[in-house]
């Protein structure tokens, strides 16, 4: 909800309280709307948009609201307007299933076209949408290497440093006065970064979950959690555990 509301009120000249990080020597800005901006490369990274998730469920008999794509794209539009990047990289699971981009209503297609105008746009393929996109601007590929960074959907278990991935939808929990707060987060130990899921109807997976095992150096792992209008940065050791 916070992000939906923020996206509506967000102004390009009203910078949110972000967190500055460094991954393999490259500076990144974690935006509370869920995008990562790399100022030196002028690249905006988002991950796990899961567009057309509602209609994917509707095809299986669960009539989820048909507004998830619209809501996600509005937030994307807000974060693009804020940073005005030269390049946008969407890190996979761009669509919730293989047919999503082909069956997407024209209204949403033209929103993407407008956002992509004057920019380079790269769709990294994910496990939900391994075949690339249909009739959309930009190039589709499995991974991309650039300036010491490697962009791919699924984090590789023994990846070299500089990997920026998605797929796991990381979230983190803090405990405070016997109360628990759980939020999506950017997770990085300075060597690699896992992006929060950007889609409005995507859930989260706790950083302590076994699927996250072996990915980070826990000594230097920090969760940059998405708050109402700012990022909250908490060391792994201080997360619930």
């Amino acid at each position: 909800m916070h992000r939906i509301a923020q996206a509506i009120s967000a102004l390009p000249d009203n910078p949110a309280l972000s967190a500055r990080i460094v991954v393999n020597g490259v500076i990144g800005i974690c935006d509370p709307l869920g995008g990562l901006y790399l100022p030196d490369l002028d690249i905006l990274v988002v991950s796990d948009l899961h567009l057309e998730k509602g209609s994917a469920f509707a095809r299986r008999g669960m009539m989820l609201p048909p507004y998830d794509t619209l809501a996600t794209l509005r937030i994307l539009d807000a974060v693009i307007s804020r940073h005005n990047p030269k390049t946008v990289i969407s890190l996979g699971d761009n669509f919730h299933d293989r047919v999503g981009s082909a069956l997407m209503p024209d209204l949403f297609r033209s929103m993407i076209e407008t956002m992509a105008r004057g920019r380079e746009w790269i769709w990294i393929n994910g496990n939900h949408d391994p075949d690339g996109t249909t009739a959309l601007p930009g190039a589709s590929m499995d991974e991309l290497t650039h300036s010491g960074l490697i962009f791919r959907h699924e984090p590789a278990l023994n990846a070299s440093t500089g990997e920026i991935a998605g797929h796991l939808h990381p979230s983190a929990t803090v405990r405070r006065r016997e109360k628990y707060m759980r939020r999506a987060c950017f997770a990085t130990d300075g060597r690699r970064l896992i992006m929060p899921a950007f889609g409005v109807t995507t859930g989260g997976l706790d950083l302590r979950h076994q699927a996250m095992r072996g990915l980070f150096d826990h000594q230097s792992l920090v969760a940059h959690m998405l708050g109402r209008d700012r990022i909250y940065s908490v060391r792994f050791a201080n997360l619930l555990g």
Binding site: M1, I4, A5, P15, A16, L17, S18, A19, R20, I29, D31, Y37, P39, K53, G54, S55, F57, A58, R59, R60, G61, M62, M63, L64, P65, P66, Y67, D68, L70, A71, P105, T173, V174, R176, R177, E178, K179, Y180, M181, R183, V200, T201, T202, G203, D206, R208, V222, M225, G227, R228, R230, I231, Y232, S233, V234, R235, N238, L240, G241
Partner: protein, 831 residues
């Protein structure tokens, strides 16, 4: 004579006489009426309910082999599986003794598939079942054939069924049964209720210009129960719910009686009390534990041991509230205040099933306010007051589920289905427009953006009938039928470390716990479950693995289940008692002293007066509001008042609610502000807070999200279980919270959000109750500014910090956590 010969002989052999109400019920049912029988426990209610069908079946005689298919004759519906099984046992006995030509079978979720199939091909005369099974049978293509010969529907424990969504679903099922078997008659059996006419109407079809309610037979009497409040030499605590102080006294009372039923209000309370009893169980008395989360096998064992009189005590939650026969219970101990006078009466009825002998019960208040509440409930039970909730309007999510079920049975004509649905009392006022919106919702989700026409679940035939689009839809319906929504649960399984120090496999299943609770645990944490201290080892697939724990101070599962709010009636009684010092004499000395101290240091509010105390404490200013309207209404009031105080610039920081009072704290001096009439208390408490403020807050409220999840699952928007994935049932397939956010921001007047708001305002938020209170206290608000906390304020102040936070406060705490506690990593503003 009404009764056939075998019945007369049976009564004579037993040396019994049929009771007057049993004969009256029989004759009025034979006269064609739908009937409601209200009687206390032990009055022979069950036999009365079945007499009409047993007599009718005896007169009909056995159906000769080779006859045409005959559907079921009588349908018995109970809210509990266990009750259906129990009744079968109890009914078989007289039927066997009399040699009646009657076949009786039960059908529940536990009935094997082969038996269910056989029941469809060769139905018994009397089928004992639950509301969910009725819905499933009705959504089947064979429903017409199965029910065409139905004569009677016997509805047991009707009082507990009708007020819930299960009752709404059942009322729609009953309307359908009347279509399939037009001569069918309904017989309702109920404990005493506040307004019998509600139930009488529920039992009869609602049609214009007809006598639209069932006949009523009320059996009064029964011996007056002997209830007392546990007297103790221990110190009664200010706050809390554990009643740990009284464990020694409770144990003593168990030792002095043959069999004791110990009722508590929540599952965590049950675990706690059980644990503490065993800590001091030097005589090794057989004391068992029974609550809804425990493994079914374990529960059945406890029930069997109980009926064989092998136990001295069972610690139980509401799973045992209803009419299961419990052998010779001679005492009920109720730990914690009963929260409602009717609930107390029903629980006490568990002791001693013979109507002419008095039941014995001891109430054990957990804190000082509860002492007063227990005393009030005790007085109420003696004068027979009843505070059962009203039946209420039928929920829309339930209606959506029913509409899909009817399409699964056979293509339906919308006009005919509308007429049928509005003949059910809870839906009598349903408009055609709302009905159409629900049908549209079932078909494509009912969105203004018509994106899903091609995926529609039900579609219109050329004749204008609605039919299911494909067989998968019917399968989906069957998997998700019902109105009882559970939080995602994990099985708890005991494992041992093997020699190599890794975890073994396949130990004993202990039951289920909520997934969210387990997510909070780290390996090595301990918690109390199934009467044991368990050590959390990890999660494997959908199981929570645990080992024997040895820590003495476990984390207790924070179950949400089973918390009842204080009833309006009982709240009024507590206010009366507080206002009338002459009644304080009946209270224990400690409570008396507490009240008289309050009178000296502050004041005791009059019955219709709203007392508000303000005082500083630490760096904050507090206001405590003694509204006595129950925790839920107080939470709502807290949310709304905080908004208003915020607007008045008083910087409220938080609030906490109990059943009796509400405390709000702020940075600014609240006492000073009210004294100088900035703002006026009368304005602060004006009824208009239930207008825009309520609307604005509701939309942000986490309570609404929780309600939405239930509505979305019941209405079939979100499957609990999806075909082919039945077993993974760990999570609802998609987050309802996220769906809610998206829907609310794009289509705020969607019908499911309307259903959610309806539900929340009657259930979780108790808006109506709050409205009644605000109008009652108009002109009766008394502000008492104090220098320090008052005696009456202590209990609510002790709750601060124990309550969960949500919404806005979460971000506040997040900020605190990130900024203060974890200052090692600083957030920086982007360039």
């Amino acid at each position: 004579m009404l009764l056939p010969a075998p019945f007369l002989r049976w009564f004579a052999d037993k040396g019994w006489h049929p009771r007057a109400h049993q004969l009256e019920l029989l004759s009025r049912v034979q006269g064609g009426e739908n009937m409601l029988l209200i009687a206390p426990t032990g009055a022979g209610k069950t036999l009365a309910g079945f007499l009409p069908s047993l007599v009718s079946l005896t007169e009909r005689g056995k159906i000769p082999p080779g006859s045409a298919f005959t559907g079921i004759h009588t349908l018995y519906i109970s809210p509990l599986k266990a009750l259906a099984v129990d009744i079968e046992r109890n009914l078989m006995k007289p039927v066997g003794d009399m040699g009646l030509p009657v076949r009786i079978e039960n059908r529940t979720g536990d009935t094997p598939a082969a038996k269910r199939q056989r029941q469809k091909l060769n139905p018994p005369d009397i089928l004992l079942t639950t509301p969910e099974q009725v819905a499933l049978l009705l959504a089947n293509g064979e429903a017409e054939r199965f029910f065409k010969d139905l004569k009677y529907v016997v509805l047991d424990e009707l009082h507990s069924l009708v007020t819930s969504k299960r009752g709404h679903l059942l009322s729609l099922g009953l309307a359908r049964l009347r279509q399939l078997a037009p001569g069918m008659q309904a017989i309702g059996l109920s404990a005493t209720v506040a307004d019998p006419m509600d139930l009488q109407r529920w039992l009869a079809p609602q049609r214009a210009g007809e006598n639209n309610h069932a006949g009523l037979i009320t059996v009064t009497g029964g011996a007056r129960p002997e209830i007392s409040i546990m007297r103790t030499d221990e110190r009664v605590p200010w706050a809390g719910h554990s009643a740990a102080y009284a464990i020694g006294d409770i144990y003593k009372a168990i030792g002095e009686t043959k069999t004791t039923l110990l009722f508590v209000n929540t599952r965590s309370q049950a675990e706690r009390v059980f644990q503490e009893l065993w800590t001091i169980n030097d005589d090794n008395l057989p004391i068992a534990l029974h609550h809804g989360s425990l493994d079914v096998g374990q529960r059945r064992k406890v029930e069997a041991a109980m009926s064989e009189n092998k136990l001295r005590a069972v610690v139980a939650t509401s799973t045992l509230d209803l009419g299961i026969d419990w052998g010779d219970v001679d005492m009920v101990i109720h730990v914690g205040a009963p929260k409602g006078a009717s609930r107390l009466a029903q629980r006490i009825g568990r002791a001693n099933h013979r109507m002419d002998e008095p039941s014995r019960a001891i109430l054990v208040p957990a804190n000082r306010f509860e002492v007063m509440e227990c005393q009030a409930a005790l007085d109420a039970n003696y004068i027979g007051a009843q505070d059962t909730p009203p039946v209420g309007k039928g929920a829309l999510d339930v209606l959506a589920q029913h509409v899909l079920g009817m399409a699964c049975a056979a293509p339906f004509d919308p006009l005919a289905l509308y007429a049928e649905i509005t003949s059910a009392a809870p839906y009598a006022t349903l408009t055609w427009d709302t009905f159409e919106r629900i049908v549209d919702f079932v078909a494509t989700g009912g969105y203004a953006l018509r994106a899903y026409e091609r995926y529609t679940k039900i579609r219109k035939t050329p004749e204008g009938f609605w039919r299911v689009s494909n067989p998968m839809i019917a399968q989906q319906y069957r998997l998700n039928v019902g109105t009882i929504i559970e939080s995602p649960m994990l099985n708890v399984r005991m494992v041992k470390h093997n020699a190599r120090g890794s975890l073994g496999r396949g130990g004993m299943a202990l039951g289920k716990v909520e997934e969210y609770f387990i997510e909070m645990l780290s390996p090595g944490d301990t918690f109390l479950f199934s009467g044991k201290v368990l050590r959390f080892e990890g999660i494997r697939e959908s199981e929570c693995l645990v080992s024997q724990g040895y820590k003495l101070d476990p984390k207790v599962p924070s179950y949400n289940g089973g918390k009842f709010p204080l009833s309006t009636y009982l709240a009024q009684q507590v206010r009366k008692m507080l206002a009338d010092p002459s009644r304080h004499a009946t209270l224990p000395e400690q409570v008396r002293d507490w009240l008289s101290l309050q009178k000296d240091l502050s004041m005791l509010p009059k019955e219709d007066e709203l007392l508000i105390e303000t005082f500083p404490r630490g760096s904050r200013h507090y206001m405590v509001i003694y509204a006595f309207e129950g925790r839920l209404a107080h939470q709502t009031l807290g949310m709304l008042l905080t908004r208003r105080l915020d607007r008045a610039g008083l910087k409220p920081l938080g609030f906490v609610a109990t059943d009796y009072s509400l405390a709000i704290w702020a940075l600014e001096d609240l006492g000073e502000a009210f004294t100088s009439r900035r703002p006026q208390l009368a304005d602060l408490f004006d009824e208009d807070m239930l207008g825009d403020d309520l609307e604005a807050w509701l939309n942000e409220s986490f309570l609404l999200k929780r309600t939405f999840r239930n509505c979305a699952v019941i209405a079939g928007l979100i499957d609990q279980r999806h075909p082919g994935k039945e077993k993974s049932g760990r999570q609802v397939t998609v987050s309802a919270d996220l769906i809610y956010d998206v829907l609310r921001s794009h289509e705020p007047d969607h019908i499911l959000l309307e259903a959610t708001r309806n539900d929340a305002s009657t259930g979780l938020l108790e808006i109506e109750r709050l409205g009644d209170m605000l109008s009652r206290i108009k002109g009766h608000i008394t502000h008492r500014p104090l220098d320090r906390i008052s005696p009456l304020a202590v209990p609510v102040m002790l709750e601060i910090g124990k309550e969960a936070v949500n919404g806005d406060a979460q971000d506040f705490l997040l900020a605190e956590a990130a900024d203060e506690l974890f200052a090692d990593v600083m957030a920086t503003a982007s360039p």
